[in-house]
């Protein structure tokens, strides 16, 4: 290599990059040490109710509870869309199956109600939860097996059709699901019963204490579930399954040729995504205690997709951010009549949410298709040691460009 002096390379590192490099360099236990206070802070948000963040028109706790549900959905959809690259437009179907399973098993008006046979009201929801997850997983299997041989656009339309079929089945099979009348009084976890003030526990809609109302409790429950799901999904990501998903997403034919059993792993992605959707549906059924087909329409499917795409497809924390934006922003504006001194009509702005999200999707796809928090390609096999080394090099480069010769400039190439 010639030794003529070339201009020294200056590596520009943004704040996000520095943050990411620092985070990835930490050892796992350190990451937990830093992360847990952050999670506790988020969990305490509905208790503290910071004045700027608190929603005016609706209850902050309920908004956060809804956010928790959507975050779970986003993580599940991320497995299918973000990690494996399968565009699923009918994800709301799995959501519906989960919710209906819980409702069918525990609602007093359902023909398959178990709560008047032998199931006590206290344990009903918890009992129905794993059943909901299992049944939704089976549904994912049933949907995936015939359709996963299709590619891209066709798969999207077929899953859209499936989502609609689930909703229409729920609406039409009135002998089972009571159609538009819906299944009322679905069970919810009965915890913290106080015969005087809270005869039905902290999770029931009658708990209108402030700030620890039912919304806050459901939010805490969803945080616990989100952490569990993140652990599972994260584990999968770093395993052979996750690598197969990335390979399928990038180039399915090449993956197939290299020996990755693509169909099997695509099916697994579907099943896992479906299970998480079912879990979220069970959460919804317990929260709202009323399940009817109108909730599970195509527009909600698009909204979930929006959350994943906005936040960053493939990045499981990014999609949580996306879910937060989707849920929180419209509710932030609801009922607000002035913002930073400017008079606004908050209700109108909240109504326009689909318009804004649609514009955001189009603009984002043109200028930043990877989303807000992109999924960075990582050297999955040898992650940490390489990171520590390249981080040192990157930081050195950004601090003292003149001291580093040009030839070593490509040691950090792997970090991209």
């Amino acid at each position: 290599m010639s030794t003529e002096t070339t201009a020294p390379t200056v590596l520009k590192l943004g704040v996000g990059d520095k943050l990411r490099l620092w985070w990835d360099a930490l050892a796992r236990p350190t990451q937990w040490l830093v992360g847990v206070p952050f999670i506790v802070l988020i969990a305490l948000l509905p208790v503290i109710r910071p004045p700027l963040l608190t929603t005016v028109g609706t209850d902050f706790g309920s908004v956060l509870a809804q956010f928790g549900m959507y975050a779970l959905l986003a993580i599940g959809l991320n497995v299918v869309v973000g990690q494996t690259g399968l565009l699923d437009l009918g994800y709301v179907g799995f959501y519906a199956i989960g919710a209906y399973t819980v409702a069918l098993l525990t609602s007093p008006v359902s023909p398959w109600n178990l709560t008047d046979d032998w199931l006590s009201q206290d344990w009903a929801w918890l009992f129905a939860l794993p059943i909901a997850i299992a049944i939704t997983a089976i549904a994912g299997l049933i949907l995936g097996t015939p359709t996963l041989r299709l590619r891209g656009d066709y798969l999207a339309i077929v899953t859209l059709g499936f989502g609609e079929i689930v909703r229409l089945l729920a609406d039409n099979l009135t002998n089972i699901t009571r159609g538009g009348q819906g299944l009322t009084q679905v069970a919810y976890p009965i915890v913290g019963v106080d015969p005087e003030t809270k005869p039905t526990g902290v999770f029931s809609a009658g708990n209108t204490d402030s700030p620890l109302n039912s919304g806050t409790w459901w939010f805490w429950l969803s945080i616990v579930l989100i952490i569990i799901v993140l652990l599972i999904v994260g584990n999968l990501e770093r395993s052979r399954v996750g690598r197969a998903w990335v390979a399928i997403r990038e180039d399915e034919d090449a993956a197939e040729i290299m020996g990755v059993p693509t169909f099997k792993f695509k099916l697994w992605a579907f099943i896992i995504g479906a299970s998480i959707g079912g879990l979220s549906g069970a959460l919804y059924a317990g929260q709202v205690q009323f399940v009817q087909p109108g909730t599970f329409n195509v527009i909600n499917s698009m909204l979930f997709l929006c959350a994943v795409v906005l936040g960053g497809q493939g990045n499981k924390l990014g999609v949580i951010l996306g879910a937060f934006i989707i849920v929180y922003l419209p509710n932030f504006f609801l009922g607000r009549t002035e913002l930073l001194g400017i008079p606004i009509n908050g209700d109108d702005i909240a109504d326009y949410k689909y318009l804004f999200f649609g514009i955001a999707l189009v603009v984002l796809m043109i200028f930043r298709p990877q989303g807000l928090l992109p999924a960075r390609q990582k050297l999955l096999a040898y992650g940490r040691p390489i990171y520590v080394a390249t981080r040192k090099a990157a930081l050195a480069l950004s601090r003292k460009p003149a001291a580093v010769p040009a030839a070593t400039a490509d040691t950090e190439g792997g970090a991209r």
């Binding site: 609706t58 609406d171 538009g180 819906g182 009322t184 009658g206 209108t208």
Partner: protein
């Protein structure tokens, strides 16, 4: 190289000629009247003159019952000496959306009562807080916590539709907030054990058999096709009507449509093929109006019968002359003259179904507030023990939450 221009021109000509021909040949016998200029909605279109007129009040056997005497009705103004502070009542229903007219009727009726009260009682100003649910049970579940969370609200007029009442009833029940509905008619609503829920009108378990008896005995319809939508109200009402009609309800032409449907061709064909005497539509006017219009266009001569969800001037407006001679039932009574005049003067539109009930029920709540009640439980008790006349009927509730006696009115579009 074939020149494409003559071919293009040729096909274009064929296209235009074909359209003209098709248009011409098929419009010869469309009853050509000399061209009436567009833009002038001339009175030749009889639809502009159609209104919904009350026919008769009936009991459970379809027999006529004389209208109630409204001279003793409770007056919201009261004695003018009431004292209260920071108290409000809420109204929840469809204020926007395809069936908004039904919710707005209720809101206006309530406002009429509350404004009369506030004008007469300077020391007791009650506010009406509106909560729009769009008639959608889903939206209602999002709105209900706000109603319950507002501490100044001690009574709720609503929810308006049966579906949303079923969805959020438990929330109000657990909060023990008085839920006084002027329009939700599904009979199952009182079977949930809610001690705070009271219905200010007859339910569908009365409306169904009453109307069925009227159709079979008075109007002598032998074959009726029951068409239902997929809303809670429609499903419940259809069940009651079908069981009330008994043998007259023909199961082979019974059909189900969905809210939001705009075209009903298969249903229309099936009904046409069945040659029924009447079609009963259980649903709201947003679908009922296009359905009636399409039935008429297809040449179905069966009478169109529907219930309170369709009983609104909007139905006549959207269906046009297809609405003529339609029978519409309602657990609500016609507006007394003075009320109708006051309503028209205040809101510039005619009063609709349930405006009178809303007025009466709001008056009852105001009476409770005037008597010094400031908490939710107190208002529930007040209604539980209330016994008095209103504009529409006498109000006295049983322990279930149903009125002790309530009857159905039949209207006709004339």
């Amino acid at each position: 190289m074939r020149s494409s221009t003559p071919k293009m021109a040729g096909t274009a000509l064929v296209l235009v000629a074909g359209l003209l021909l098709a248009g011409c040949s098929s419009k010869d016998d469309s009853g050509d009247t000399p061209s009436s200029t567009p833009g002038s909605s001339e009175s030749a279109a009889a639809s502009g003159d159609l209104t919904i007129q009350p026919l008769v009040q009936i009991d459970k056997d379809g027999k006529e019952v004389a209208a109630a005497d409204t001279s003793n009705a409770a007056d919201p103004a009261g004695d003018g000496k009431a004292k209260c502070d920071g108290v409000s009542i809420a109204m929840a229903g469809a204020l926007t959306g395809p069936n908004a007219a039904l919710g707005i009727n209720i809101l206006n009726g309530a406002k009429l009562a509350v404004d009369a009260h506030n004008a007469a009682n300077a020391d007791c100003q009650v506010t009406v807080k509106e909560f729009d649910t769009e008639g959608d049970p889903q939206k209602a579940t999002q709105v209900a916590p706000s109603i319950v969370g507002d501490k100044s609200v001690i009574g709720l007029l609503g929810p308006a539709f049966s579906g949303e009442t079923a969805a959020v009833g438990p929330v109000f029940s657990q909060a023990n907030l008085l839920s006084l509905t002027a329009s939700a008619t599904n009979p199952d609503l009182v079977k949930n054990g809610w001690t705070n829920f009271y219905r200010g009108l007859a339910n569908d378990a009365v409306q169904g058999p009453s109307v069925a008896a009227y159709l079979v005995n008075t109007l002598k319809f032998a074959k009726v096709c029951v068409v239902q939508d997929d809303s809670d109200y429609g499903i419940g009402l259809a069940k009651e009507i079908t069981s009330g009609l008994g043998a007259a309800a023909d199961a082979s032409c019974a059909a189900k449509v969905k809210t939001g449907d705009k075209d009903f061709s298969a249903t229309v064909q099936i009904i046409k093929g069945a040659s029924a005497d009447a079609v009963f539509y259980a649903g709201y006017y947003a679908e009922g109006a296009p359905f009636a219009a399409q039935l008429k266009e297809a040449g179905v001569t069966a009478a169109f019968v529907s219930a309170d969800g369709t009983n609104d001037p909007q139905f006549v407006k959207q269906a046009g002359s297809a609405a003529k001679d339609a029978y519409l039932s309602c657990p609500c009574g016609p507006a007394p003259e003075k009320f109708a005049a006051d309503y028209k003067a205040k809101f510039n539109v005619d009063s609709g179904v349930y405006s009178v009930e809303a007025y009466d029920l709001a008056t009852i709540m105001l009476k409770g507030i005037d008597s010094g009640i400031t908490d939710r439980a107190g208002l529930v008790d007040f209604v539980k023990n209330y016994d008095g006349d209103g504009l529409a009927r006498h109000y006295k509730w049983e322990s279930t939450g149903e009125l002790a006696s309530a009857l159905i009115w039949i209207y006709q579009v004339k």
